[in-house]
Symmetry: C2
């Protein structure tokens, strides 16, 4: 596949995934958990992209807390392919640094930005979609975002409003929309030209570098300095010293929204509708639904235990792999047990699990977060 | 208190308490758990009776599985005061054996029969009530049962229908009633002359011996033979050999019901209404209610954990003393965690926990029961 000769997957692995507490922890974030099969989420992210690019072209950006475990989980990557930010600065500086470095290595580099903790149901279709996107991004100056066709009026995601189809049949992006309220989300679902922002982007390194220089000048200058030291002995020190000076901002907010404000024909942002069984597994509830859809278990119960007994129990997610689990008369409950913690919640309220982590952070109960 | 000079407490400690699984096990039944304070239920049973009788006059009847732990928990009793049945034969043979033995030791012995796993709120009042009962039982030929004033239309207990007040102001028992359906239970509650059968009885050893000879002749003969060997080296062998020949029957069914059929004035069975905060802690739900009534915790949550976080959580009972417990958006849930098991149920369905134990028994999962 010659069109992927310059394709560089950049995987963002700095998230914390607090909604998977108590399984996810500061040093064992969601992307490092095997929530869907034997491989961890980040291992799956890498392996589904390997048919499109050799291992040496991958980049992973993570943080100090996760660096060791990310490195351990990806033995096929070299040490210098895994970059640990000295401080978190959101996605714009992270992907920007990769762009400045890659532009120096390969002037035709096309960067694909990928979250490390999503599920893709149909990997073949995923790669076919990417190939279209890579082609579109390689054709100078275009920014490509994969948009997921909404299946429900979700209020937890950002949306992409697509506009006219251009001469190549690609959808131009009209605007990016922040998380909507329920009424607007219902409207988006009905309108059919709105897509969920998947967080997966494609662009040439040079396109991104130029966009950052235009929209985020100071940060771009900092990143350029760091990139200049890449491959030298001073890199690590320079990175640690300068990176904190970058603005803390997402690439959506820093680049895509101002760019899209130029109007859909001027901004050169394209949306490729993606239909490959995407799921961001945003909570225990989403994980439960994902597995129920795939495995259709009896009474909708997903229970990991060393022996199981259920009676009048439906739609529960219970994770206690070392224990005999008995569920009697409970419905739509989520229970997750680890060596040091026990979470009891409902499918409806599972997203509030992040508040447990906030509490533990506030109380400085460090061994639990 | 001279009238207790011949008072012998006999404590029945052979029950299994399966509804407290996974905390209760075959070798660590409910009466051996500290469900209400620091002492175990059987230790509390003994200590609340000690003001009425010296330790040497206590008898405990248990089974082979529990013998070792009962002995360990009651260091104040001599070995031969704790009798382990070779096989379970329900309450009639158990209390009957105590009666045949005690009659030989003290012809004026008054036996008090006590379950080992109930809670008594007001111990002073409990002892005052017992003193009245002991007096009534000592006055030859009377059988005294402590009746609990119903506070709800409970369908899980047997009831006592009280009749006329006799010349001493004691209530005569008209009949014993099996567990009623909901409609009858509501009627009993309204009628005000119905009491819950507490399982606590008082009678002279000779009264019981005579009653057994009359109503359960063969078993009485067997028990008499075993009693004759008590204190000799052959006791243990005789007990093991003969006890299985006893009928498997409760004292209520074997003696009290046929006796009461003679008519309330002839049967000499009396009910002393008891009002000392009795609770049989029949399930996790009952335990939860008991503690909520005593301690009035915030939002009705009773949570044992190494750290606790709750959010929109009410009326839950959670036991996981070694873990940080987070309860988010759950109400009226019961969760109990041990080293090898995790129970998740509701306050409404907690009595079905016995079915988990039945399942484990059937599957011969012995280490879990």
């Amino acid at each position: 596949m010659p069109k992927t000769d310059h394709f560089y997957p950049v995987i963002l692995a700095g998230g914390r995934g607090t909604r998977f507490w108590p399984l996810s922890r500061k040093r064992r974030a969601k992307q490092l958990l095997a929530l869907d099969g034997k491989k961890t989420m980040i291992q799956q992210t890498v392996s589904r992209l390997l048919p499109l690019a050799p291992a040496k072209r991958f980049w992973v950006i993570t943080n100090q807390d996760l660096h060791r475990e990310v490195t351990a989980q990806l033995p096929g990557l070299e040490k210098n392919q895994i970059i640990a930010e000295p401080v978190g600065r959101n996605t714009a500086p992270a992907i920007g640094l990769a762009a400045f470095i890659l532009q120096r290595i390969d002037s035709e580099a096309v960067i694909g930005l990928f979250p490390s903790d999503h599920v893709i149901g149909d990997e073949r279709h995923f790669r076919e979609t990417l190939l279209r996107g890579i082609e579109l991004a390689a054709a100078g100056g275009n920014i490509v975002v994969l948009g997921i066709r909404p299946t429900r009026p979700e209020t937890g995601y950002g949306y992409i409003e697509a506009g006219i189809k251009d001469e190549r049949g690609a959808l131009r992006v009209r605007r990016f929309t922040e998380k909507p309220d329920a009424e607007r989300a219902a409207g988006f679902l009905a309108a059919e030209n709105y897509f969920w922002n998947s967080g997966m982007f494609l662009w040439r390194a040079g396109t991104l570098v130029n966009a950052l220089r235009e929209h985020l000048g100071k940060t771009a200058a900092v990143l350029e300095k760091i990139a200049e030291s890449f491959g030298t002995r001073s890199f690590s020190g320079t990175f640690r010293r300068l990176y904190p000076k970058c603005e803390n901002i997402s690439v959506d907010y820093a680049v895509l929204e101002p760019r899209s404000a130029k109007g859909e024909t001027q901004s050169n942002i394209y949306c490729i509708p993606a239909d490959f069984g995407w799921n961001d597994l945003g909570s225990w509830t989403a994980l439960h639904e994902h597995h129920v859809a795939r495995r259709n278990p009896e009474n909708g119960n997903l229970i990991s235990g060393k022996g199981i007994f259920t009676l009048n129990a439906e739609g529960n997610y219970i994770y206690a792999p070392g224990k005999f689990v008995a569920a009697v008369g409970v419905n739509n409950i989520v229970v997750v047990e680890t060596d040091d913690a026990l979470l009891i919640t409902t499918r409806e309220q599972a997203q509030d699990v992040a508040k447990v982590v906030k509490y533990l952070d506030d109380k400085k109960l460090r061994r639990l977060v």
